[in-house]
């Protein structure tokens, strides 16, 4: 899922205080799982901002709401009214959702309430860590199911480097060495030969380095025409 972190309240307040009618708008899928931007968090943030407005004597009407997902057209239908009514929307969705909202309501000022951080997993309640940087050409089958692009700080494909320190990355004792993990996994499976083989230079064209990406299902042309018409 996509993980994000709510911006500090002060930063958010600075962004929104100039508006008359603000809508704090949650997204109840990915960012709700990490308890940062869901509809519940939207309610809480709405309250905090109202208190702040009262404290500072700022005349602003703050409503809160949210939808299931801000990255798909259909979920916006029932919220269109409240979005139209507002001057500005503080979206708590990930960066994709914030932008999508802006595209659908181009006349509205749209602001991000979250910093979108990474694609990751829930290691434990309240603990999330990064797993995939979307290179577009997955090689997990070559590295025992552990991604060296993401989990090695240097995205080394023929690791580990000389800085691997007792199973940790040189950048921090809190960051496991991705290659140490790969080695341990493959050793346990008796498949170390995979990483004794040379992995050649990566073609980054399928990653963000190749430009903004788009993907189209040709076999869904009819659905697109129906939705448009």
């Amino acid at each position: 899922m996509i993980v994000g972190k709510q911006k500090p309240l002060e930063e958010i307040w600075d962004m929104v205080k100039g508006y008359r009618k603000l809508l704090v708008f949650g997204c109840n899928t990915c960012v709700a799982v990490c308890h940062e931007g869901g509809n519940r968090e939207s309610e809480i943030l709405g309250s905090l901002l109202r208190m702040k407005a009262k404290q500072e004597g700022v005349d602003i009407v703050i409503k809160d709401g949210g939808i299931e997902r801000q990255c798909e057209h259909e979920y916006f239908e029932k919220a269109a009214g409240e979005i139209e009514e507002s001057d500005a929307v503080l979206s708590l969705a990930c960066g994709a959702g914030v932008q999508f909202l802006g595209e659908k309501f181009p006349g509205k000022t749209v602001m991000p309430g979250l910093n979108t951080t990474f694609i990751g997993v829930v290691d434990a309640p309240g603990e999330f860590s990064e797993r995939c940087t979307m290179c577009g050409d997955c090689i997990l089958h070559l590295t025992g199911g552990i991604c060296p692009i993401t989990r090695c700080s240097k995205s080394i494909l023929n690791g580990p480097c000389g800085g691997s320190n007792k199973g940790c990355c040189e950048i921090s004792p809190d960051t496991p060495c991705g290659w140490h993990l790969i080695h341990e996994r493959l050793k346990a499976q008796g498949r170390l030969s995979l990483i004794q083989a040379y992995i050649p230079a990566k073609n980054w064209i399928t990653s963000r380095d190749g430009g903004p990406r788009k993907q189209v299902r040709e076999d869904m042309k009819m659905e697109r025409e129906t939705a448009a018409g």
Binding site: N158, G159, P160, G162, G163, I195, Q196, A201
Partner: protein, 310 residues
Amino acid sequence: MSELKSGSNLEKVLKAGHFAFTGECGPPKGANIEHLREKGSPLVGMVDCVNVTDNQTAVVRMSSWAASLLLIQMGIEPNFQMVCRDRNRLAMQSDILGVYAHGVRNMLCLSGDHQRFGNHPGSKNVFDLDSMQLINMVKTMREEGTFLNGEEIDERPKLFIGAAENPFAEPCEFRVHRLAKKIAAGADFIQTQCIYNMERFREFMKQVVDMGLHEKCYILAGVTPMKSLGMARYMAKSVPGMDVPDSLIKRLEGAGKGKVAEVGIEIALEQIEEFKSLKGVAGVHLMAIEWEHKVPEIAERAKMLPRPKV
């Protein structure tokens, strides 16, 4: 290994069967040519070539290629270093052509310290290629005369290709396999991270020799003399992949006031003496960091002088 690959002094020394002795010189943290000259001049005639680091520890310094050219002007053969952190494959190939055109003949291919603990931690990193792929690319440029994309090079660069290995970084059992990979990828010579645990290094070299790697590649053992107790303790605790035995620290502690540096040098000299006869070791890489003026004394006492003229 019949014809010379690059014609570099280091290559010729090793090929002739001499025990090689290489040094290191970090470029200045500015455009201060005088400072580089002061650091480099003690090394003239003392070593077969001098490593020129590339934004080491991710701290911005004069580029390795620029400092390498200045060393050539001083009569020193550089071992030009390139890390994978700061350059993509375009810039890498471009710089390789450039340094070769200016007379550089040795190149050390490294991953590079992560910029997180450097002095510009907010920078974007590159890591388009890793060190293994860089080694292979330089080899292909030299042997096939083609760029990474297969296009022909208008006069191929012929560099003597080096790489690093750290025998004590975990997972330790994999290090000899990674060394084998680097050699297969094209490494002509290897410089190890500085060694303090001789027992473990002997075991490592035994594995290297068992795999026949010493016959395919020249292996130079890294030596860094301990200047002070503080340095020894720091290396033991804070440098990734460094193995400093307690016995070494105790020996330095027992040195007596003002004598620690001398004991540090004695230890280094003992190591160098052992490396001369350790099977599979083709030379020593002396990293007397910010202690370059001690190199002539160490070279003399290690009986490394005069350096062979090949």
